[in-house]
Symmetry: C2
Subunit: 400 residues, 2 copies
């Protein structure tokens, strides 16, 4: 009998209890092994929950119980989630988590600690919610060198951009509606400023490169400045505006950043709408594969947490296969100034177009002039933007 | 040092040699273990290939060499592929394969043999080419009950249907072009008659249910009868015509069949075009996830074969986790007459519409009357078709 403790009984925590209970019979059959939830750590009481009697308030009850061998951390935030995770690993307990903030910030240390103590630290639910992507990248793309990852990694912003496109409602109004529907937090910054997507893209990039970049230092741009004119320009060219987490490995150097991008219709990410996520991976042997599904939500995210718990129980007698990451140093990172892509330039009507701005297509949309630029690097783009000055309303990277 | 033998040096076999060689350094690093290809079994000689010196013609050379612990079968066809697989498993060798014919026909016996002899039989490459789908279904959806699978499982027919839709070229002409391009075999029956898709959907259905249905007995309809009028009707309703392998588990009963279906635009399968495959899985906790990528091709398929080889080497010291299937009996299968879906009825212009044909929408397309019918079961659909007689040009299931 494997004894499990859940840290946190919020949305994902209560979903995890539900998945472990609802599908208990089929999971135990697959495992050939029984399990039970022994404790749920939360500050609150849940007298009306069927799991209410399992709630404890003192983390040490869990830490000091040698029967508990699997701990699922679903508290969110860095502290005390990181501290509790560290203590569990050091006590020889396996930990699974949905906490992208902890994985992206402390992943190097926590993976090393797991290795040192002969246990596992798994985090399938930290990226893409219920979408299987982390384990498939480790196991199924193991025969490949991953060259590029582009993902719609945040359901809230994708919902907002989809509504802006389909209903012509401006950003601020859609955000309010998303908050009303519970798709966006009262403080929406982590979503709309791209912070959540940055955490997720550094995790995916680390799976491809072994180097975990600091999510706070990668170029990160959110969606707050996107106007309806910008989405109209995208539509006029047959593109969709999406917030993309992007990672690439070129000559051993890692590029990772988050920004809104105009996605041409031929790219399967262009058609991933609403709260869904999609992660497109380019690898040297398989070519292009995509993982698609619900990027958030109670039961989908819990489904991934429980898949990690099952993985640990199923392999409890095998040597744990460690995930080995190093912290990315400056010399591991490509110079972002050299990042090359096509760009969409949106200028005030009548603006003078500098000679350096080579473009392939031009359309007039909502009293602006939209130019689909030829590929250029960030440094060139910045100098063109400087020349354009106030004539430039906005410029977007195109995802090719 | 793990010694690997390849059975078959055709498209997938030579691709597998290439992946194992090209990515050797990174794979060995991940494994912490060296490997080499010791033999390649083929009837032909390959004097100009860098792997030519590894070619042997006698299967017994491989079977009787105790150094060979992993065998990759990529011969295609049932015999001798099945016989060689069986002999290898019985000799205590792990086997991986891309051969859907063998897995779908002999999977129950071969999985049981692997278990009996303490080795593994893996077949990620048998469905969806390079797309990670089998291992993710086993590992990542392990926390779920899978309720429904709908897949575009055959790249050749998807290429043909895409060309028919986008270029307005009739089936027979596109088929010839596909044969010229190497996308279709000289004898295209396995693809265009849905046989290949039937093999793949029974494998996916077995992963969900534990019951392997006989691919020869499930209802299977190909794409040879699809006319341009049919694709025009699909387009007029905003649908795409796709060859869909479908499996569902309802009250413990399995439904599995292959047929062309009209796929509404909201379904992500509607936008999977050309030679790409997509597999949409509905499961009770995660909801809907999709796996997308190249469903065939030398290196993509080899990428999956090598992922299985890596899985075996990485877990060589662990207890093999057996896949346990039973042969599906009649009582495991749902009565297909009870299968309910919407249908698109395409009638000769001026045909009398029977009262039993309830429909939600009607359009006139290419001198036909196309009716988007309300949901009805197969038995009802058959009796309506009988009443319509020669007025009925065609009828398609809609994928909702």
């Amino acid at each position: 009998m494997v004894k499990i403790a859940l840290l946190g009984f919020g949305v994902v925590g209560s979903g995890t209890a539900e998945v472990l209970t609802e599908n208990k019979k089929i999971i135990e059959e697959r495992l050939g092994c029984a399990y039970e939830i022994k404790y749920i750590l939360d500050l609150r009481e849940f007298p009306d929950s069927p799991f209410g009697s399992l709630v404890v308030h003192d983390f040490n009850t869990i830490l000091n119980d040698p029967e508990v061998t699997v701990v699922a951390e679903m508290m969110g935030g860095s502290h005390p989630a990181y501290d509790f995770t560290k203590a569990c690993l050091m006590a020889g307990k396996n930990v699974v988590t949905s906490n992208k903030e902890v994985v992206s910030t402390f992943g190097v240390e926590l993976c090393a600690l797991a290795r040192e103590h002969g246990v596992r630290y798994l985090f399938e639910a930290s990226v893409g919610g219920g979408i299987p992507v982390i384990r498939p990248m480790i196991n199924d793309l193991s025969s490949n060198k991953v060259a590029k990852i582009s993902g719609i990694l945040n359901g809230t912003t994708n919902y907002i951009l989809t509504e802006m496109r389909d209903k012509g409602t401006p950003f601020s109004d859609v955000l309010k509606e998303a908050q009303r529907l519970g798709y966006a937090e009262a403080n929406p910054s982590a979503d709309v400023d791209g912070i959540d997507a940055a955490r997720k893209i550094v995790i995916l990039a680390a799976l491809a490169s072994g180097k975990l970049a600091d999510p706070k230092t990668i170029p990160t741009e959110g969606i707050t400045a996107i106007s309806l004119t910008d989405t109209h320009v995208a539509a006029a060219f047959g593109f969709s505006m999406k917030l993309i987490g992007h990672a690439a490995l070129t000559d051993g150097k890692l590029t990772a950043f988050v920004s809104p991008r105009m996605v041409p219709a031929v790219n399967p990410l262009s058609r991933i709408d609403g709260v869904f996520n999609g992660i497109l991976v380019n690898a040297n042997m398989v070519g292009e594969v995509m993982f698609y599904g619900p990027g958030a939500g109670k039961l989908p995210t819990a489904s991934a947490v429980v898949a990690d718990i099952i993985d640990i129980i199923a392999n409890r007698d095998a040597d744990p296969k460690p995930i080995l990451w190093e912290a990315a140093t400056d010399s591991d990172m490509a110079d972002f100034a050299g990042y090359v892509c096509r760009r969409m330039w949106i200028l005030k009507s009548g603006a003078e177009i500098p000679a350096a701005l080579a473009f392939d297509d031009m359309k007039v949309v909502d009293d602006t002039v939209a130019l689909l630029g030829a590929p250029c690097d960030e440094a060139t783009a910045a100098s063109i933007a400087k020349v354009l000055g106030e004539s430039l309303l906005s410029v977007y990277r195109v995802l090719d």
